[in-house]
Symmetry: D2
Subunit: 336 residues, 4 copies
């Protein structure tokens, strides 16, 4: 079957070898289900070394971990403030509203990043006709391929807390943000009350983790996970994926590589005729205007998405397995 390299999504990549090996290694005999096994204990210990004191819930999909996280933070009459076009707004088929029962309010941003100033503009008076604005949700790194600096995240956390709100970080690509800023995973989510920490895009088969840092959010995390349909019975096979990627900083190696490939790509095409880079390249995505006459053919050949057809903007994503040769081939095709 098809094995061609694509630039469509980091989801197109497969499983990193160490994860697959860990799954095979854990496939020995019986183990208690639903997390009452030694592999899950180990994964939570490794997560504790990474994120510190918190409650953890291993999940299966990014939408799932976002829903679990938000359901812990929200009552039905409360709302989430997030960037327009955030994954929870646009790409989760309405799951956040449907399962949490809460409203999502969106704010237009220039590059996917919220700021205190943008949030101020969305504040509403607190009266009974309105939802109670309760959660600020940011994506790290963002849907535009930019990454908040740790201080910027902390600033948003401080703003949220000063307004009696909580900060949620959708960290489907938290690894890429940390790699870009040269800091730890916890640091790049500084001040967050709850994190959806994703490893699938980093090379797992399917492993996401809800990290509940704020003590008031922790108690019902397992019930919330089960109710959101995210509790795998044979949980050891999710746990070992987490342990494998957090061991020996493998997550960092994969993210650093993917980021480097994106930067190589951006540098390689930035001077080409009809090409311009739309957003700072701070993770593993390049948003670029491509020549009108070739963008469709290129997108079909290299299977990337035309993000904004009106302005000929393509999204070019790299992954843990993108090679310099793959990148150079795409550069050549674009610059052709």
């Amino acid at each position: 079957m098809s094995t061609q390299m694509t630039f469509g999504s980091d989801n197109h990549a497969g499983i990193v070898p160490e994860v697959l090996a860990a799954i095979a290694e854990a496939n020995v005999g019986h183990a208690l289900g639903y997390g009452a096994d030694e592999w899950t204990v180990r994964a939570e210990a490794v997560l504790g070394e990474t994120f510190g004191d918190a409650a953890y819930a291993l999940c299966l999909t990014g939408t799932g971990s976002n829903v679990v996280a938000l359901s812990l933070a929200l009552r039905g009459w409360e709302s989430v403030l997030t960037a327009r076009g955030a994954h929870i707004d646009l790409d989760e088929a309405g799951a956040p509203e449907h399962i949490t029962g809460s409203k999502i309010e969106t704010i237009a941003t220039p590059d996917g990043r919220l700021t205190p100033q943008l949030l101020e503009g969305a504040l509403r008076s607190n009266e009974q006709h309105h939802v109670v604005q309760r959660v600020v949700s940011i994506t790290q790194s963002t849907e535009c391929g930019t990454a908040y600096a740790p201080a910027a995240v902390q600033e948003l956390a401080d703003w949220a807390h000063a307004h009696d709100m909580l900060l949620h970080v959708d960290g489907a690509r938290l690894c890429n943000a940390a790699a870009h800023h040269g800091c730890g995973l916890a640091e790049v989510a500084s001040g967050a009350d709850i994190i959806s920490f994703g490893l699938t895009k980093n090379g797992a088969m399917g492993a996401e983790v809800v990290v509940a840092i704020n003590p008031t959010l922790r108690a019902p995390i397992q019930n919330a996970r089960k109710q959101a349909t995210q509790l795998q019975s044979k949980l050891r096979f999710v746990a070992v994926q987490v342990t494998a990627l957090l061991t020996d900083d493998r997550w960092l190696a994969h993210a650093t590589h993917a980021n480097a490939m994106a930067l190589r790509l951006a540098v390689g095409i930035s001077d080409a005729a009809g090409v311009s880079i739309v957003h700072p390249v701070e993770a593993n995505a390049v948003f670029a205007v491509l020549p009108l006459e070739r963008i469709v053919a290129l997108s079909e050949q290299h299977q990337f998405y035309i993000w904004d057809a009106t302005n000929n903007v393509a999204r070019l994503m790299t992954a843990w397995d993108t090679t310099p040769a793959d990148v150079d081939a795409l550069i050549a095709a674009i610059c052709g």
Copy 2:
């Protein structure tokens, strides 16, 4: 880590080798995500050979596939009739009510099986104060280890349709029911409008399928799956699990084996002092009264559940990897 054989759940077993091999084999290069890959196409073709014309959605957890199936069949003011203690009633942390927004009405049964007579007793007048009774949900095989005969399922389907209702089959152990009755998977869900077809307990790592047979339920199946957080990005790795188990009737071999181990166990203990078998053994579970003075120690040693502490009833489950020697050891311990 622990590899001791247990009788606690078919979830305690690991992954059958052919499934693990299929995952490894599919781990080659890039593939489009979310089902737009060749492995998913193949899995749906194999499912089509098994269940016929239907819409399919590959899912991750049993609760997830139940929620997707029910959400396709229900409006908010409609209800589900099911056996008291069914998985959707008791063991899904309220996910069905929470995500579908609909009520579950439960009916007491002697052995987990609903009948038209039991359903008649639960019928209510159709008035605006009541929910509209819309779905009959049965578990095949049941939570009591019994399995509906194909004709019994068809009879329930006919009853449902005659009352303007739909039949949902929670087939987390559909394979065991088919193996017991010596018929096909579709046959053991005869007349069903929608099926949650489980393969995890049959030896998959985590693979469940919603099978929407009734044409009026099919169109939004992908949106419903996504909204229920059940859409895996790297879906090829779920698809190959389905294909692996449906190929060469492997599902049948695993289920037949597990059922045979349960029967061996039941036969082996049925005459022992203080032991009585509670329900007919028609799948891979034995419900047995065990001697009061030893049931706790046995449950700890062999890690099975005491299902009904008041009456000393244990649930003893076998799996694809339970060996005759494992069974004989438990028989010896119980008959001790």
Copy 3:
């Protein structure tokens, strides 16, 4: 149009004159909407004299006030324990599950009353697969026309609190219970964390009040009311209904009268051939077995409900406007 007296429901009665007069009296000029008016302030003051320190939300329907109360007490993965056949279980079209997102668990009772012993039997282990049992909901007076004594309510409250649960009282007929036990409205809900206090059946046009006593439930009461669609814009016209009925113990006069009419009816028919009284008559309802050969004709003539067709049980309800002559006419018809 039809003005015949019926025994079908206390909802069949109209508006007591003092309520209608109060509405007319408040219909003067402009007033701020949604509760920011002087009439609402006065109603809340009167409620404060009745129930003490609490947060109040004036609502429009009994289902509405139940939903608001339960939504304040529940998270999505939590459940309500209630008597089978309670209004929230049977007669609200699934609104509690749908709007709170939480499960309702029902317990069979002999006469509509829960007891600590019955609740003990419904307790489940607290594990992630289960909902978290969080609220005990009782109806005062019950759907069977019985009324908990204040000490019995307090005992249930103590039981709930000892199990980390809350007590909700559906007081659609709280007035009738208080009248029966000769005590105050607060006393007949002793220990409750939250009350749905109904006045419509007492003679209002449509006025129900959520009384949030437990301080942890109070803050979002207005948002919860608005989200449950229960906030009337011209709220003064609801407020004056509350004030009118709580002034000069009018509620007590109406409830005492209705109860007395029920007792007169029960006494009058209890010795008749083929008649037996099913439940103690402690409010304004009589549940009675009536002669098989006449029950249908009687129900059509006097417009009461046949509650249990299998056993010829009728529900005969009295209201604030039922006269002794009305009762005597029904007695004569039944004994005839």
Copy 4:
């Protein structure tokens, strides 16, 4: 208590005399509850003369009737497209998302009115990650005091139907729109599949009607109303409000008057220093920039809302009981 005339909301006005008289007149003896009474039959007949063949559900609040209407039109994974700042978006405490389980997508408009062009810009590709865009919801007259012409509504209906969508009209002030355009209530909602028809702002105490025109939406209207907590037990008292206002075109007289008062006000202040009219005055609201130095004092004295504090925009609303003298007094105060 306070009887001062305000310009804050048409909700500040009381009950028109003919409605109060109708309530008093219906308060005779017993009537079956929940709509099985002669007054409800009559109200539905009058509604049928107004809107034609449809299913009707009498409701209590505007939020309630919107939720009932939308819940009939939507599945959980579908969405509503509406103007940013529409009542369902901003002023219903998240009830539409919470109770329907569906997403609301908002579109910025210059004057509260959607157009096919604006809708085109919000269309998304139909894929499983997205919600299915299913309902266009417009407010007639709009939150900006403008009113769609019948042809404009029909054009939106045609657009919606061409895109496999439905048109919902939030007609909280449908009467004002019809009065402005000199046409019937049905005409000013031309092509709509479902209407929330409000009479409270027209002078009722509290009466709203869901009008389900599209035959595919009708069947469960009563269950949806009950589940949304909107079913009044003593429904005759809601029914007579509807009948009273629809009889002898009283609705038209009230709306025509309120509109005329708004126009009188707009004309009277439009030339004053520092004043400008923001939106066309096509209903009973005037949006006007008022002088910075006096807007706060004026708003407190005449109890109107400062709609946009940044730009000194006030919302000045008239009602059925606003007199020319009231208007002239406000004109004098503003121009002062």
